[in-house]
C-alpha cells in the first residue's frame, strides 16, 4: 500500500462525516482508504497529455426548466420520510 492514512486524518474525516469510530473501526478504515487511494492512483498511469479536460461525464449542456409551478402540495407523502413529525414539520434533534 503506497498511501498511508495517519490517525489524525482518519479522525478528521470522521468528524466531517459525523462518525464516531471505535479503535478497530478506525484501523479498518485507514486500510480501506489507503487501498482506495492506491486504486485511484492507477488513473495517473494513463498518459492524458493529449486529452482535453472535461467538466462532465455527458456531452450535454443547457438543460433547463421553464419557471412554471408543476408541483402541488404533497406534504402527506413527503412527511412519510420523516422519522417523526409534529405540526406538519420534520422533527430533528435540538439544533442551534
Amino acid at each position: 500500500m503506497k498511501n498511508i492514512i495517519d490517525d489524525a486524518t482518519i479522525e478528521y474525516v470522521g468528524i466531517l462525516a459525523k462518525l464516531s469510530l471505535t479503535e478497530e473501526e478506525a484501523e479498518q478504515a485507514k486500510t480501506d482508504m489507503g487501498k482506495m487511494l492506491d486504486y485511484i492512483d492507477k488513473l495517473g498511469e494513463l498518459d492524458t497529455s493529449n486529452v482535453e479536460p472535461m467538466s462532465h461525464a455527458f456531452k450535454v449542456q443547457n438543460v433547463f426548466r421553464e419557471d412554471v409551478v408543476s408541483n402541488g402540495d404533497d406534504r402527506e407523502n413527503i412527511l412519510k420520510n420523516a422519522p417523526e413529525e409534529k405540526d406538519g414539520m420534520f422533527v430533528v434533534p435540538k439544533t442551534f
Binding site: K18, N71, I78, V92, P93, F96
Partner: protein, 477 residues
C-alpha cells in the same frame, strides 16, 4: 486613543430571486405557506431525485451581473458544498465555487464624500436552506423545507468600503438596481435580502489588512449600522490593549446590540466542494446575453436624468422617488393617467411617505392603484373636494384602495359650490358673531379666520375655504 484606525469592509449579500418556482424543481416559492406544503423529493433531498435548473434563475443572475458591470462566465457549472445541518436535507448545498456566473464587476455608490466605485468580486447562483423552528417547550427542533431550494444569488464585494455610510450606500444601490430589474423585492426584514459583513480594522495609512471577522444575522439597515460601529470598536479595543483579533464568525444580537462568536476554531469549515454531477454545464450564448440586455429596463441614473428633463419637480423629490422602483412606477403611472407631475410628487412626498413612516411600511408594501390617486388629484384640481377632504380620502385610498369618486359620492363629501347656500351661511355667521366682525373691520385681519372656521363648521367642512373667505370679505366690506 493615539493611533488613528480605519475600517475595511467587504460584503456578502444574499438575494432571493423573484421566480415563481424553486431553482431546481417545480415547487412554488410563495412566502408564508403552511409548513412543507411547497416541497417535493428534489428540495427535500430524497435519493434518486434529479435537479433541473430553472432558466429564469440564470436569466436574473445574468441581468444583475450586466447591471453591475460584471463579466459573464460563458461556460459555468454548479458545485456541491458539503456540510451537515438539518435545514439542508441533501447534506450539501448546490452552489458555484469554481466558475461563478458573474465576475469582476463594480457599482458606483454616492455618499456625502462623493461618488466611489465598489468592486464586485463575483456573483454566484445557489439554493436556500429550509427553516429550523426551535420550540422552547419541546426537546427537539422542527424543520420546514418550504424555503429549501428557493433560488439565491450571492453577491460578493471586494473589501472596498471604509465606513458604515458606504456600506449602506452600497446596499441601497444594489437593492434599487435589483428591484429595477424585477429580479427580487429585496426586503431585508423578510429575508429576501441578507447581508454578511466582513470587517477588519487597521491603522490609517497601512497597506496590509487586519484580521477580519464575519457578522451574520443583520436584517435591517439599522442593525447593520450598529453592528459595524460595535464590531469596529471591539476590534480597536482589542488592538489597543495589546490583544489580537481572532478570525471568526459572529452573530449580531439586535435586542442586546452586541455580537458574540458563533463558531469555534475546533469546528473549522471544510466544505469539500466538487462539481455537481446531476447538473449539466451551462453555456451562455451571445444571443442569450443580447436578449437579456434588450429587456434591461431604464435604471435609476437614467431615470433621474429623464425626470429632470421631463418634469418640473425638485431634485430632492426625484432622488427619493427614484430610490424605489415602486414609488417611481406609481409616480409614472399616475402622471400617465393625466395628473400633474408636481401634484403627484407632492402626494408621494407628503402623505404617502408620512403614512409609510407611521405604519413602518416600505414603499414596496404600497398596494393602492395609481388610477385612484390620479382621480383624487383631478377631483381636487376641479375643486370637487377641498384639501382637508382630499387628505381624508387619500387615507382611505392608501389603506383600502377605495375608488375616490364612489367614496366621495357615498359619504357626501363633495364641496358645496352652491353660491346661495354659501351666502346664507356667511350671513348667519356674521350676524351671530358681531365682535369678530368689529375686530375685522377695525383692522384685525386675523379675526376673519374665526368666521371662516364657523362657516366651514356649518357647512360640515365641505366647502372651499377660499370661496368662503371671499364671500365673508365681500359681505363685510
Amino acid at each position: 486613543m493615539s493611533k488613528q484606525y480605519e475600517m475595511v469592509i467587504g460584503l456578502e449579500v444574499h438575494v432571493e430571486l423573484a421566480t415563481k418556482t424553486k431553482i431546481f424543481c417545480g415547487c412554488s416559492t410563495a412566502f408564508g405557506g403552511e409548513p412543507n406544503t411547497h416541497t417535493c423529493p428534489v428540495c427535500t433531498g430524497m435519493p434518486g431525485s434529479l435537479p433541473v435548473l430553472n432558466k429564469q434563475v440564470l436569466e436574473y443572475a445574468i441581468a444583475v451581473g450586466l447591471a453591475t458591470n460584471c463579466e459573464i462566465t460563458r461556460n459555468c457549472k454548479f458545485d456541491r458544498k458539503n456540510y451537515f445541518y438539518p435545514d439542508n436535507p441533501q447534506n450539501y448545498q448546490i452552489s458555484q465555487l469554481y466558475l461563478p456566473i458573474c465576475r469582476n464587476g463594480h457599482v458606483d455608490i454616492e455618499t456625502e464624500n462623493g461618488i466611489k466605485s465598489v468592486r464586485i468580486h463575483e456573483i454566484h447562483m445557489e439554493e436556500d436552506a429550509g427553516k429550523l423552528i426551535h420550540d422552547d417547550w419541546y426537546d427537539a427542533s422542527l424543520v420546514d423545507y418550504n424555503r429549501s431550494g428557493v433560488p439565491l444569488i450571492e453577491i460578493v464585494s471586494e473589501p472596498d468600503m471604509r465606513s458604515a455610510e458606504e456600506v449602506i450606500a452600497y446596499l441601497e444601490t444594489l437593492r434599487n438596481t435589483i428591484q429595477y430589474l424585477g429580479a427580487s423585492d429585496c426586503k431585508l426584514n423578510e429575508g429576501s435580502m441578507r447581508a454578511d459583513v466582513n470587517l477588519s480594522v487597521r491603522e490609517v495609512g497601512s497597506e496590509t489588512f487586519g484580521t477580519r471577522t464575519e457578522m451574520k444575522n443583520l436584517n435591517s439597515f439599522h442593525s447593520i449600522m450598529h453592528a459595524i460601529k460595535g464590531e469596529s470598536e471591539r476590534q480597536i479595543d482589542l488592538l489597543e490593549s495589546g490583544e489580537s483579533v481572532i478570525q471568526e464568525t459572529r452573530r449580531w444580537d439586535d435586542t442586546k446590540e452586541c455580537s458574540y462568536a458563533m463558531r469555534s476554531k475546533e469546528d473549522a469549515q471544510d466544505y469539500r466542494y466538487f462539481p455537481d454531477p446531476d447538473l449539466v454545464p451551462i453555456s451562455v450564448s451571445d444571443e442569450l446575453i443580447e436578449s437579456i440586455l434588450a429587456k434591461q429596463p431604464e435604471m435609476r441614473l437614467e431615470k433621474k436624468k429623464r425626470y429632470k428633463e421631463e418634469f418640473d419637480i425638485p431634485e430632492y423629490d426625484i432622488n427619493i422617488i427614484t430610490n424605489s422602483k415602486h414609488l417611481a412606477d406609481l409616480f409614472e403611472e399616475t402622471v400617465s393617467l393625466g395628473a400633474q407631475p408636481k401634484k403627484v410628487s407632492n402626494w408621494i412626498m407628503g402623505e404617502t411617505l408620512k403614512l409609510l413612516k407611521e405604519k413602518e411600511m416600505d414603499p414596496e408594501d404600497i398596494s393602492f392603484s395609481a388610477s385612484h390617486l390620479a382621480d383624487l388629484i383631478k377631483m381636487t384640481d376641479a375643486k370637487e373636494i377641498n384639501s382637508t377632504v382630499a387628505k381624508e380620502v387619500f387615507e382611505k385610498i392608501f389603506f383600502e384602495d377605495v375608488d375616490p369618486k364612489a367614496y366621495v359620492e357615498e359619504k357626501g363629501l363633495k364641496t358645496e359650490n352652491n353660491e346661495d347656500l354659501l351666502l346664507e351661511v356667511a350671513k348667519r355667521v356674521i350676524e351671530a358673531n358681531p365682535q369678530s366682525v368689529t375686530d375685522y373691520k377695525s383692522g384685525k385681519e386675523k379675526a376673519i379666520g374665526f368666521l371662516v372656521g364657523q362657516s366651514m363648521r356649518e357647512l360640515k367642512g365641505k366647502a372651499d375655504p377660499v370661496a368662503v373667505t371671499e364671500m365673508l370679505k365681500k359681505l363685510m366690506s
